[in-house]
Symmetry: C2
Protein backbone atom coordinates (compact mmCIF):
# COMPACT_ATOMS: atom_id res chain seq x y z
CA UNK A 1 0.00 0.00 0.00
CA UNK A 2 1.32 3.45 -0.91
CA UNK A 3 2.01 5.71 2.05
CA UNK A 4 -0.38 8.63 2.15
CA UNK A 5 -3.04 6.72 0.19
CA UNK A 6 -4.41 5.12 3.36
CA UNK A 7 -7.93 6.32 4.21
CA UNK A 8 -8.44 6.55 7.97
CA UNK A 9 -12.20 6.93 7.66
CA UNK A 10 -12.51 3.77 5.55
CA UNK A 11 -10.41 1.95 8.12
CA UNK A 12 -12.63 3.16 11.00
CA UNK A 13 -15.81 2.20 9.12
CA UNK A 14 -14.57 -1.30 8.37
CA UNK A 15 -13.29 -1.98 11.89
CA UNK A 16 -16.51 -0.52 13.31
CA UNK A 17 -18.58 -3.04 11.31
CA UNK A 18 -16.52 -5.88 12.72
CA UNK A 19 -16.62 -4.80 16.35
CA UNK A 20 -20.37 -4.18 16.04
CA UNK A 21 -20.83 -7.83 15.04
CA UNK A 22 -18.87 -8.93 18.10
CA UNK A 23 -20.80 -6.56 20.37
CA UNK A 24 -24.07 -7.94 19.00
CA UNK A 25 -22.86 -11.49 19.65
CA UNK A 26 -21.76 -10.91 23.26
CA UNK A 27 -24.74 -8.80 24.43
CA UNK A 28 -27.69 -10.92 25.64
CA UNK A 29 -30.70 -10.77 23.26
CA UNK A 30 -33.54 -8.38 24.12
CA UNK A 31 -35.86 -11.38 24.43
CA UNK A 32 -33.86 -12.83 27.35
CA UNK A 33 -35.09 -11.87 30.85
CA UNK A 34 -34.79 -9.34 32.34
CA UNK A 35 -35.87 -7.94 28.95
CA UNK A 36 -35.97 -4.28 30.01
CA UNK A 37 -32.38 -4.49 31.23
CA UNK A 38 -31.13 -6.11 28.04
CA UNK A 39 -33.00 -3.56 25.93
CA UNK A 40 -31.36 -0.76 27.94
CA UNK A 41 -27.90 -2.32 27.54
CA UNK A 42 -28.28 -2.60 23.76
CA UNK A 43 -29.73 0.91 23.56
CA UNK A 44 -26.57 2.15 25.32
CA UNK A 45 -24.26 0.35 22.87
CA UNK A 46 -26.09 0.71 19.51
CA UNK A 47 -25.86 2.50 17.15
CA UNK A 48 -22.91 4.07 18.99
CA UNK A 49 -20.32 6.44 17.59
CA UNK A 50 -17.24 5.92 15.44
CA UNK A 51 -15.95 3.02 17.63
CA UNK A 52 -12.61 4.82 17.84
CA UNK A 53 -11.33 2.88 20.86
CA UNK A 54 -11.97 -0.57 19.31
CA UNK A 55 -10.31 0.62 16.09
CA UNK A 56 -7.25 1.73 18.06
CA UNK A 57 -7.19 -1.63 19.83
CA UNK A 58 -7.22 -3.53 16.54
CA UNK A 59 -4.78 -1.12 14.88
CA UNK A 60 -2.32 -1.72 17.73
CA UNK A 61 -2.55 -5.49 17.23
CA UNK A 62 -1.92 -4.99 13.50
CA UNK A 63 1.06 -2.72 14.19
CA UNK A 64 2.58 -5.52 16.27
CA UNK A 65 2.04 -7.91 13.35
CA UNK A 66 -1.08 -9.86 14.32
CA UNK A 67 -4.33 -9.95 12.33
CA UNK A 68 -6.88 -7.51 13.74
CA UNK A 69 -9.11 -10.48 14.73
CA UNK A 70 -6.64 -11.28 17.52
CA UNK A 71 -7.88 -8.13 19.24
CA UNK A 72 -11.63 -8.43 18.59
CA UNK A 73 -12.58 -9.41 22.17
CA UNK A 74 -10.38 -6.73 23.78
CA UNK A 75 -11.78 -4.22 21.27
CA UNK A 76 -15.38 -5.11 22.14
CA UNK A 77 -14.52 -5.05 25.86
CA UNK A 78 -13.16 -1.49 25.63
CA UNK A 79 -16.30 -0.31 23.83
CA UNK A 80 -18.58 -1.94 26.44
CA UNK A 81 -16.58 -0.22 29.17
CA UNK A 82 -16.76 3.11 27.34
CA UNK A 83 -20.53 2.68 26.81
CA UNK A 84 -21.14 2.09 30.51
CA UNK A 85 -19.21 5.25 31.47
CA UNK A 86 -21.41 7.30 29.11
CA UNK A 87 -24.61 5.88 30.67
CA UNK A 88 -23.44 6.70 34.20
CA UNK A 89 -22.02 10.13 33.19
CA UNK A 90 -25.43 11.11 31.80
CA UNK A 91 -27.32 10.25 35.04
CA UNK A 92 -29.12 13.05 36.92
CA UNK A 93 -26.61 12.97 39.81
CA UNK A 94 -23.74 13.43 37.31
CA UNK A 95 -23.98 15.56 34.12
CA UNK A 96 -27.79 15.18 33.98
CA UNK A 97 -27.80 14.97 30.17
CA UNK A 98 -31.08 14.17 28.45
CA UNK A 99 -29.70 13.66 24.93
CA UNK A 100 -26.71 11.88 23.44
CA UNK A 101 -26.00 11.63 19.70
CA UNK A 102 -29.46 13.05 19.02
CA UNK A 103 -31.34 10.41 21.05
CA UNK A 104 -32.76 10.41 24.59
CA UNK A 105 -30.14 9.21 27.10
CA UNK A 106 -30.63 5.77 28.70
CA UNK A 107 -32.14 7.08 31.94
CA UNK A 108 -34.61 9.21 29.99
CA UNK A 109 -35.64 6.24 27.85
CA UNK A 110 -35.59 3.48 30.54
CA UNK A 111 -35.69 5.23 33.93
CA UNK A 112 -32.88 6.01 36.32
CA UNK A 113 -32.67 2.64 38.12
CA UNK A 114 -32.53 0.71 34.84
CA UNK A 115 -29.83 3.06 33.52
CA UNK A 116 -27.73 2.62 36.65
CA UNK A 117 -28.09 -1.17 36.46
CA UNK A 118 -27.55 -1.34 32.67
CA UNK A 119 -24.28 0.54 33.20
CA UNK A 120 -23.28 -1.82 36.00
CA UNK A 121 -24.03 -4.87 33.85
CA UNK A 122 -22.13 -3.43 30.86
CA UNK A 123 -19.05 -3.00 33.05
CA UNK A 124 -19.28 -6.64 34.19
CA UNK A 125 -19.75 -7.78 30.59
CA UNK A 126 -16.70 -5.77 29.51
CA UNK A 127 -14.53 -7.82 31.87
CA UNK A 128 -16.12 -11.09 30.78
CA UNK A 129 -15.39 -10.26 27.14
CA UNK A 130 -11.82 -9.10 27.90
CA UNK A 131 -11.22 -12.46 29.60
CA UNK A 132 -12.30 -14.28 26.41
CA UNK A 133 -9.03 -13.29 24.67
CA UNK A 134 -7.76 -16.71 23.51
CA UNK A 135 -4.25 -16.76 25.12
CA UNK A 136 -4.71 -17.13 28.95
CA UNK A 137 -1.54 -15.21 29.88
CA UNK A 138 -2.51 -12.34 27.59
CA UNK A 139 -6.12 -12.47 28.79
CA UNK A 140 -5.07 -11.91 32.40
CA UNK A 141 -2.83 -8.95 31.45
CA UNK A 142 -5.66 -7.53 29.31
CA UNK A 143 -8.20 -7.78 32.14
CA UNK A 144 -5.81 -6.00 34.52
CA UNK A 145 -5.07 -3.31 31.92
CA UNK A 146 -8.80 -2.66 31.52
CA UNK A 147 -9.41 -2.71 35.28
CA UNK A 148 -6.63 -0.17 35.94
CA UNK A 149 -7.96 2.17 33.24
CA UNK A 150 -11.55 1.76 34.46
CA UNK A 151 -10.91 2.22 38.17
CA UNK A 152 -10.29 4.96 40.71
CA UNK A 153 -6.83 5.69 39.27
CA UNK A 154 -8.26 5.82 35.73
CA UNK A 155 -11.58 6.85 34.18
CA UNK A 156 -13.52 7.03 37.47
CA UNK A 157 -10.75 9.09 39.08
CA UNK A 158 -10.83 11.48 36.13
CA UNK A 159 -14.59 11.79 36.41
CA UNK A 160 -14.38 12.67 40.13
CA UNK A 161 -11.76 15.34 39.35
CA UNK A 162 -13.97 16.61 36.51
CA UNK A 163 -16.97 17.02 38.82
CA UNK A 164 -14.82 18.76 41.45
CA UNK A 165 -13.53 21.18 38.79
CA UNK A 166 -17.07 22.27 37.83
CA UNK A 167 -17.37 24.33 41.00
CA UNK A 168 -13.95 26.07 40.76
CA UNK A 169 -11.93 27.17 37.71
CA UNK A 170 -9.41 24.28 37.34
CA UNK A 171 -5.64 24.81 37.37
CA UNK A 172 -3.58 23.66 34.39
CA UNK A 173 -2.41 20.70 36.52
CA UNK A 174 -5.99 19.76 37.42
CA UNK A 175 -6.98 20.00 33.74
CA UNK A 176 -4.12 17.73 32.74
CA UNK A 177 -5.18 15.20 35.44
CA UNK A 178 -8.76 15.22 34.11
CA UNK A 179 -7.79 14.79 30.44
CA UNK A 180 -5.28 12.09 31.22
CA UNK A 181 -7.57 10.00 33.39
CA UNK A 182 -11.06 10.76 32.06
CA UNK A 183 -10.04 10.12 28.45
CA UNK A 184 -6.42 9.14 27.78
CA UNK A 185 -6.33 6.20 30.21
CA UNK A 186 -8.97 4.31 28.20
CA UNK A 187 -7.23 5.18 24.90
CA UNK A 188 -4.06 3.78 26.43
CA UNK A 189 -5.83 0.64 27.67
CA UNK A 190 -7.43 0.06 24.25
CA UNK A 191 -4.08 0.27 22.50
CA UNK A 192 -2.14 -1.73 25.10
CA UNK A 193 -4.84 -4.44 25.20
CA UNK A 194 -4.61 -4.83 21.42
CA UNK A 195 -0.82 -4.97 21.62
CA UNK A 196 -0.92 -7.52 24.45
CA UNK A 197 -3.34 -9.71 22.47
CA UNK A 198 -0.78 -9.63 19.65
CA UNK A 199 2.11 -10.56 21.98
CA UNK A 200 3.95 -7.20 21.86
CA UNK A 201 7.36 -6.90 23.53
CA UNK A 202 8.20 -4.16 26.06
CA UNK A 203 9.76 -1.79 23.50
CA UNK A 204 6.66 -1.85 21.33
CA UNK A 205 4.37 -1.56 24.36
CA UNK A 206 6.28 1.50 25.60
CA UNK A 207 6.14 3.21 22.20
CA UNK A 208 2.40 2.50 21.92
CA UNK A 209 1.71 3.75 25.46
CA UNK A 210 3.45 7.07 24.74
CA UNK A 211 1.50 7.40 21.49
CA UNK A 212 -1.77 6.53 23.25
CA UNK A 213 -1.60 9.00 26.13
CA UNK A 214 -0.72 11.91 23.80
CA UNK A 215 -3.43 10.89 21.35
CA UNK A 216 -5.99 10.64 24.17
CA UNK A 217 -5.20 14.09 25.58
CA UNK A 218 -5.25 15.59 22.06
CA UNK A 219 -8.64 13.93 21.47
CA UNK A 220 -10.06 15.48 24.65
CA UNK A 221 -8.72 18.93 23.67
CA UNK A 222 -10.42 18.51 20.27
CA UNK A 223 -13.62 17.48 22.08
CA UNK A 224 -13.48 20.59 24.26
CA UNK A 225 -12.96 22.75 21.14
CA UNK A 226 -15.93 21.10 19.39
CA UNK A 227 -18.12 21.50 22.52
CA UNK A 228 -17.22 25.20 22.65
CA UNK A 229 -18.17 25.58 18.97
CA UNK A 230 -21.57 23.90 19.53
CA UNK A 231 -22.07 25.97 22.72
CA UNK A 232 -21.59 29.07 20.60
CA UNK A 233 -24.28 27.62 18.32
CA UNK A 234 -26.65 27.45 21.28
CA UNK A 235 -26.47 23.87 22.59
CA UNK A 236 -24.87 24.22 26.01
CA UNK A 237 -23.40 21.34 27.97
CA UNK A 238 -22.10 21.52 31.53
CA UNK A 239 -18.55 20.15 31.54
CA UNK A 240 -15.06 21.13 32.51
CA UNK A 241 -13.18 22.38 29.45
CA UNK A 242 -9.54 23.15 28.74
CA UNK A 243 -10.82 26.48 27.39
CA UNK A 244 -11.26 27.51 31.03
CA UNK A 245 -7.43 27.40 31.14
CA UNK A 246 -6.29 28.13 27.55
CA UNK A 247 -7.58 30.26 24.67
CA UNK A 248 -8.61 28.50 21.44
CA UNK A 249 -5.26 29.16 19.70
CA UNK A 250 -3.26 27.76 22.63
CA UNK A 251 -5.52 24.68 22.84
CA UNK A 252 -5.04 24.01 19.10
CA UNK A 253 -1.26 24.37 19.36
CA UNK A 254 -1.20 22.00 22.37
CA UNK A 255 -3.18 19.40 20.40
CA UNK A 256 -0.87 19.75 17.38
CA UNK A 257 2.22 19.32 19.52
CA UNK A 258 0.72 16.24 21.20
CA UNK A 259 -0.13 14.64 17.84
CA UNK A 260 3.39 15.36 16.53
CA UNK A 261 4.88 13.79 19.67
CA UNK A 262 2.50 10.81 19.39
CA UNK A 263 3.69 10.13 15.84
CA UNK A 264 7.32 10.44 16.92
CA UNK A 265 6.70 7.91 19.72
CA UNK A 266 5.23 5.50 17.18
CA UNK A 267 8.13 5.94 14.77
CA UNK A 268 10.60 4.81 17.43
CA UNK A 269 9.31 1.19 17.35
CA UNK A 270 7.29 0.79 14.14
CA UNK A 271 7.91 1.13 10.40
CA UNK A 272 5.60 3.65 8.68
CA UNK A 273 3.59 0.94 6.85
CA UNK A 274 2.96 -1.17 9.96
CA UNK A 275 1.82 1.91 11.86
CA UNK A 276 -0.28 3.29 8.99
CA UNK A 277 -3.72 2.85 10.67
CA UNK A 278 -2.48 4.37 13.94
CA UNK A 279 -0.90 7.28 12.01
CA UNK A 280 -4.10 7.81 10.03
CA UNK A 281 -6.23 7.91 13.20
CA UNK A 282 -3.86 10.51 14.69
CA UNK A 283 -4.39 12.55 11.53
CA UNK A 284 -8.17 12.36 11.89
CA UNK A 285 -7.99 13.54 15.49
CA UNK A 286 -5.75 16.46 14.50
CA UNK A 287 -8.33 17.47 11.87
CA UNK A 288 -11.05 17.62 14.59
CA UNK A 289 -9.21 20.53 16.21
CA UNK A 290 -9.34 22.67 13.08
Amino acid sequence: MLLGMFDGNDYLAERSRRVNKTLDAVLPPETEPPEALHRAMRYAVFPGGKRLRPALCMAAAEAVGAPSEAALFPAAAVELLHSYTLVHDDLPCMDNDTERRGLPTVHVAFGEANALLAGDALQALAFDVAARTPVPGAAVAIVRELAMAAGSLGVVGGQVADLAALSVRPSETAMDFIHRHKTADLFSAAIRMGALAAGADDTKLRSLSEYAIRLGVAFQIADDLLDAASDAAGTTRAATSCLQVWDVGTARRKAETLIREALASLARAFSPDRAEPLRAIAGLILRRTE
Copy 2:
Protein backbone atom coordinates in the same frame (compact mmCIF):
# COMPACT_ATOMS: atom_id res chain seq x y z
CA MET B 1 -10.16 -32.35 64.47
CA LEU B 2 -13.23 -33.97 66.02
CA LEU B 3 -16.40 -33.69 63.96
CA GLY B 4 -18.94 -31.49 65.68
CA MET B 5 -16.26 -29.60 67.59
CA PHE B 6 -15.65 -27.20 64.71
CA ASP B 7 -16.74 -23.62 65.53
CA GLY B 8 -18.13 -21.87 62.46
CA ASN B 9 -18.06 -18.45 64.11
CA ASP B 10 -14.37 -18.80 64.99
CA TYR B 11 -13.69 -19.85 61.42
CA LEU B 12 -15.58 -16.82 60.03
CA ALA B 13 -13.77 -14.45 62.40
CA GLU B 14 -10.33 -15.77 61.46
CA ARG B 15 -10.98 -15.76 57.69
CA SER B 16 -12.51 -12.30 58.00
CA ARG B 17 -9.28 -10.97 59.61
CA ARG B 18 -7.28 -12.35 56.69
CA VAL B 19 -9.49 -11.03 53.91
CA ASN B 20 -9.62 -7.63 55.64
CA LYS B 21 -5.82 -7.45 55.42
CA THR B 22 -5.96 -8.22 51.69
CA LEU B 23 -8.77 -5.69 51.15
CA ASP B 24 -6.71 -3.05 52.95
CA ALA B 25 -3.70 -3.87 50.78
CA VAL B 26 -5.54 -3.68 47.44
CA LEU B 27 -7.63 -0.56 48.11
CA PRO B 28 -5.78 2.68 47.27
CA PRO B 29 -4.85 4.69 50.41
CA GLU B 30 -7.12 7.61 51.38
CA THR B 31 -4.20 9.97 50.86
CA GLU B 32 -3.96 9.13 47.15
CA PRO B 33 -5.90 11.43 44.78
CA PRO B 34 -8.79 11.60 44.23
CA GLU B 35 -8.88 11.44 48.05
CA ALA B 36 -12.68 11.78 48.40
CA LEU B 37 -13.22 8.83 46.07
CA HIS B 38 -10.75 6.62 47.92
CA ARG B 39 -12.28 7.59 51.27
CA ALA B 40 -15.73 6.66 49.92
CA MET B 41 -14.45 3.31 48.60
CA ARG B 42 -12.91 2.40 51.94
CA TYR B 43 -16.01 3.59 53.81
CA ALA B 44 -18.04 1.18 51.63
CA VAL B 45 -15.76 -1.77 52.44
CA PHE B 46 -14.84 -1.21 56.11
CA PRO B 47 -15.77 -2.27 58.72
CA GLY B 48 -18.13 -4.47 56.67
CA GLY B 49 -20.12 -7.45 57.86
CA LYS B 50 -19.20 -11.05 58.58
CA ARG B 51 -17.33 -11.44 55.23
CA LEU B 52 -19.39 -14.56 54.58
CA ARG B 53 -18.69 -14.69 50.81
CA PRO B 54 -14.88 -14.52 51.22
CA ALA B 55 -15.07 -17.20 53.91
CA LEU B 56 -17.06 -19.45 51.55
CA CYS B 57 -14.48 -18.81 48.83
CA MET B 58 -11.60 -19.86 51.09
CA ALA B 59 -13.55 -22.78 52.58
CA ALA B 60 -14.15 -24.10 49.04
CA ALA B 61 -10.42 -23.95 48.28
CA GLU B 62 -9.73 -25.82 51.54
CA ALA B 63 -12.37 -28.46 50.72
CA VAL B 64 -10.56 -29.10 47.44
CA GLY B 65 -7.30 -29.53 49.37
CA ALA B 66 -5.50 -26.20 48.87
CA PRO B 67 -4.46 -23.83 51.65
CA SER B 68 -6.99 -21.01 52.09
CA GLU B 69 -4.31 -18.51 50.95
CA ALA B 70 -4.69 -19.85 47.40
CA ALA B 71 -8.11 -18.18 47.35
CA LEU B 72 -7.26 -14.87 49.06
CA PHE B 73 -7.44 -12.74 45.89
CA PRO B 74 -10.70 -14.32 44.66
CA ALA B 75 -12.10 -13.93 48.19
CA ALA B 76 -11.21 -10.23 48.29
CA ALA B 77 -12.57 -9.77 44.76
CA VAL B 78 -15.96 -11.22 45.71
CA GLU B 79 -16.19 -8.92 48.73
CA LEU B 80 -15.30 -5.84 46.64
CA LEU B 81 -18.01 -6.84 44.16
CA HIS B 82 -20.52 -7.38 46.96
CA SER B 83 -19.59 -4.00 48.53
CA TYR B 84 -20.19 -2.15 45.25
CA THR B 85 -23.65 -3.73 44.86
CA LEU B 86 -24.61 -2.52 48.35
CA VAL B 87 -23.49 1.06 47.54
CA HIS B 88 -25.54 1.14 44.33
CA ASP B 89 -28.55 -0.63 45.91
CA ASP B 90 -28.70 2.07 48.60
CA LEU B 91 -28.78 4.96 46.06
CA PRO B 92 -31.88 7.22 45.96
CA CYS B 93 -32.99 5.86 42.57
CA MET B 94 -32.85 2.30 43.98
CA ASP B 95 -33.78 1.38 47.59
CA ASN B 96 -33.02 4.92 48.85
CA ASP B 97 -31.58 3.64 52.12
CA THR B 98 -29.96 6.16 54.44
CA GLU B 99 -28.46 3.69 56.92
CA ARG B 100 -26.57 0.41 56.63
CA ARG B 101 -25.17 -1.52 59.59
CA GLY B 102 -25.96 1.46 61.83
CA LEU B 103 -23.96 3.99 59.77
CA PRO B 104 -25.01 6.54 57.12
CA THR B 105 -24.93 4.95 53.64
CA VAL B 106 -22.19 6.04 51.23
CA HIS B 107 -24.35 8.54 49.32
CA VAL B 108 -25.49 10.15 52.57
CA ALA B 109 -21.90 10.45 53.78
CA PHE B 110 -20.20 11.41 50.47
CA GLY B 111 -22.94 12.59 48.08
CA GLU B 112 -24.73 10.75 45.33
CA ALA B 113 -22.17 11.27 42.53
CA ASN B 114 -19.29 10.07 44.72
CA ALA B 115 -21.30 7.01 45.79
CA LEU B 116 -22.11 6.11 42.19
CA LEU B 117 -18.45 6.50 41.20
CA ALA B 118 -17.09 4.71 44.29
CA GLY B 119 -19.33 1.76 43.39
CA ASP B 120 -18.13 1.82 39.80
CA ALA B 121 -14.49 1.89 40.91
CA LEU B 122 -15.04 -0.95 43.41
CA GLN B 123 -16.44 -3.12 40.62
CA ALA B 124 -13.37 -2.42 38.44
CA LEU B 125 -11.07 -3.17 41.39
CA ALA B 126 -12.90 -6.46 42.00
CA PHE B 127 -11.93 -7.64 38.52
CA ASP B 128 -8.37 -6.43 38.90
CA VAL B 129 -8.02 -8.37 42.15
CA ALA B 130 -9.68 -11.50 40.69
CA ALA B 131 -7.13 -11.40 37.85
CA ARG B 132 -4.26 -11.43 40.40
CA THR B 133 -4.93 -15.11 41.21
CA PRO B 134 -1.45 -16.61 40.64
CA VAL B 135 -2.26 -19.37 38.07
CA PRO B 136 -3.12 -17.64 34.70
CA GLY B 137 -5.55 -20.35 33.49
CA ALA B 138 -7.40 -20.29 36.81
CA ALA B 139 -7.32 -16.48 36.90
CA VAL B 140 -9.15 -16.25 33.56
CA ALA B 141 -11.82 -18.75 34.66
CA ILE B 142 -12.19 -16.87 37.96
CA VAL B 143 -12.64 -13.49 36.22
CA ARG B 144 -15.32 -14.98 33.94
CA GLU B 145 -17.07 -16.63 36.90
CA LEU B 146 -17.20 -13.28 38.71
CA ALA B 147 -18.33 -11.44 35.58
CA MET B 148 -21.19 -13.88 34.94
CA ALA B 149 -22.38 -13.62 38.56
CA ALA B 150 -22.08 -9.82 38.52
CA GLY B 151 -23.78 -9.17 35.19
CA SER B 152 -27.25 -8.97 33.68
CA LEU B 153 -27.78 -12.74 34.06
CA GLY B 154 -26.61 -12.59 37.70
CA VAL B 155 -26.76 -10.03 40.51
CA VAL B 156 -27.83 -7.09 38.31
CA GLY B 157 -30.56 -9.20 36.68
CA GLY B 158 -31.82 -10.20 40.13
CA GLN B 159 -31.86 -6.57 41.22
CA VAL B 160 -33.92 -5.54 38.18
CA ALA B 161 -36.43 -8.32 38.93
CA ASP B 162 -36.47 -7.26 42.58
CA LEU B 163 -37.33 -3.64 41.67
CA ALA B 164 -40.04 -4.84 39.25
CA ALA B 165 -41.57 -7.01 42.00
CA LEU B 166 -41.93 -4.04 44.38
CA SER B 167 -44.92 -2.75 42.40
CA VAL B 168 -46.78 -6.09 42.07
CA ARG B 169 -47.00 -9.06 44.48
CA PRO B 170 -44.40 -11.47 43.00
CA SER B 171 -45.24 -15.02 41.91
CA GLU B 172 -43.34 -17.93 43.46
CA THR B 173 -41.39 -18.24 40.18
CA ALA B 174 -40.48 -14.54 40.24
CA MET B 175 -39.41 -14.85 43.88
CA ASP B 176 -37.20 -17.84 43.04
CA PHE B 177 -35.62 -15.84 40.16
CA ILE B 178 -34.87 -12.93 42.51
CA HIS B 179 -33.35 -15.09 45.28
CA ARG B 180 -31.31 -17.11 42.83
CA HIS B 181 -29.84 -14.15 40.97
CA LYS B 182 -29.79 -11.35 43.54
CA THR B 183 -28.10 -13.52 46.17
CA ALA B 184 -27.29 -17.11 45.24
CA ASP B 185 -25.32 -16.29 42.07
CA LEU B 186 -22.64 -14.44 44.07
CA PHE B 187 -22.54 -17.22 46.69
CA SER B 188 -22.01 -19.64 43.83
CA ALA B 189 -19.32 -17.47 42.24
CA ALA B 190 -17.50 -17.12 45.59
CA ILE B 191 -17.43 -20.87 46.10
CA ARG B 192 -16.58 -21.76 42.50
CA MET B 193 -13.82 -19.13 42.37
CA GLY B 194 -12.22 -20.61 45.48
CA ALA B 195 -12.52 -24.10 44.03
CA LEU B 196 -11.03 -22.97 40.68
CA ALA B 197 -8.11 -21.31 42.48
CA ALA B 198 -7.49 -24.69 44.15
CA GLY B 199 -7.66 -26.59 40.83
CA ALA B 200 -10.94 -28.45 41.49
CA ASP B 201 -12.09 -31.10 38.99
CA ASP B 202 -15.57 -31.10 37.44
CA THR B 203 -17.11 -33.50 39.98
CA LYS B 204 -16.04 -31.33 42.90
CA LEU B 205 -17.11 -28.14 41.08
CA ARG B 206 -20.57 -29.59 40.41
CA SER B 207 -21.04 -30.67 44.02
CA LEU B 208 -19.93 -27.23 45.25
CA SER B 209 -22.20 -25.41 42.79
CA GLU B 210 -25.24 -27.36 43.98
CA TYR B 211 -24.30 -26.65 47.60
CA ALA B 212 -23.76 -22.95 46.80
CA ILE B 213 -27.06 -22.21 45.06
CA ARG B 214 -29.11 -23.90 47.80
CA LEU B 215 -27.09 -22.16 50.52
CA GLY B 216 -27.56 -18.79 48.79
CA VAL B 217 -31.33 -19.13 48.47
CA ALA B 218 -31.57 -20.32 52.11
CA PHE B 219 -29.49 -17.31 53.16
CA GLN B 220 -31.88 -14.93 51.37
CA ILE B 221 -34.91 -16.60 52.97
CA ALA B 222 -33.25 -16.16 56.37
CA ASP B 223 -32.57 -12.52 55.48
CA ASP B 224 -36.23 -11.98 54.59
CA LEU B 225 -37.27 -13.58 57.90
CA LEU B 226 -34.88 -11.36 59.85
CA ASP B 227 -36.08 -8.25 57.97
CA ALA B 228 -39.68 -9.15 58.82
CA ALA B 229 -38.73 -9.54 62.50
CA SER B 230 -37.01 -6.12 62.56
CA ASP B 231 -39.96 -4.61 60.62
CA ALA B 232 -42.21 -5.87 63.42
CA ALA B 233 -39.82 -4.09 65.81
CA GLY B 234 -40.44 -0.84 63.94
CA THR B 235 -37.53 -0.47 61.49
CA THR B 236 -39.16 -0.80 58.08
CA ARG B 237 -37.23 -1.42 54.88
CA ALA B 238 -38.71 -1.44 51.37
CA ALA B 239 -37.73 -4.72 49.71
CA THR B 240 -39.30 -7.71 48.03
CA SER B 241 -39.65 -10.56 50.53
CA CYS B 242 -40.48 -14.24 50.23
CA LEU B 243 -43.04 -13.57 52.98
CA GLN B 244 -45.17 -11.95 50.26
CA VAL B 245 -45.46 -15.51 48.87
CA TRP B 246 -45.08 -17.81 51.91
CA ASP B 247 -45.99 -17.62 55.59
CA VAL B 248 -43.18 -17.73 58.18
CA GLY B 249 -43.55 -21.46 58.81
CA THR B 250 -43.38 -22.32 55.10
CA ALA B 251 -40.34 -20.06 54.62
CA ARG B 252 -38.53 -21.76 57.53
CA ARG B 253 -39.30 -25.23 56.18
CA LYS B 254 -38.07 -24.20 52.69
CA ALA B 255 -34.81 -22.95 54.18
CA GLU B 256 -34.35 -26.15 56.23
CA THR B 257 -34.93 -28.31 53.16
CA LEU B 258 -32.45 -26.26 51.13
CA ILE B 259 -29.76 -26.55 53.81
CA ARG B 260 -30.34 -30.33 54.07
CA GLU B 261 -30.03 -30.62 50.27
CA ALA B 262 -26.92 -28.40 50.28
CA LEU B 263 -25.23 -30.70 52.81
CA ALA B 264 -26.21 -33.76 50.74
CA SER B 265 -24.68 -32.18 47.62
CA LEU B 266 -21.46 -31.58 49.53
CA ALA B 267 -21.35 -35.14 50.85
CA ARG B 268 -21.37 -36.53 47.30
CA ALA B 269 -17.85 -35.23 46.58
CA PHE B 270 -16.22 -34.42 49.93
CA SER B 271 -15.40 -36.27 53.11
CA PRO B 272 -16.97 -34.76 56.26
CA ASP B 273 -13.64 -33.44 57.60
CA ARG B 274 -12.61 -31.73 54.34
CA ALA B 275 -16.02 -30.09 54.10
CA GLU B 276 -16.18 -29.12 57.79
CA PRO B 277 -15.99 -25.30 57.29
CA LEU B 278 -18.62 -25.40 54.52
CA ARG B 279 -20.86 -27.60 56.70
CA ALA B 280 -20.41 -25.29 59.67
CA ILE B 281 -21.35 -22.23 57.62
CA ALA B 282 -24.50 -24.00 56.40
CA GLY B 283 -25.34 -24.65 60.07
CA LEU B 284 -24.90 -20.97 60.92
CA ILE B 285 -27.23 -19.93 58.09
CA LEU B 286 -29.85 -22.45 59.24
CA ARG B 287 -29.67 -20.95 62.73
CA ARG B 288 -30.47 -17.48 61.29
CA THR B 289 -33.91 -18.74 60.23
CA GLU B 290 -34.89 -19.79 63.75
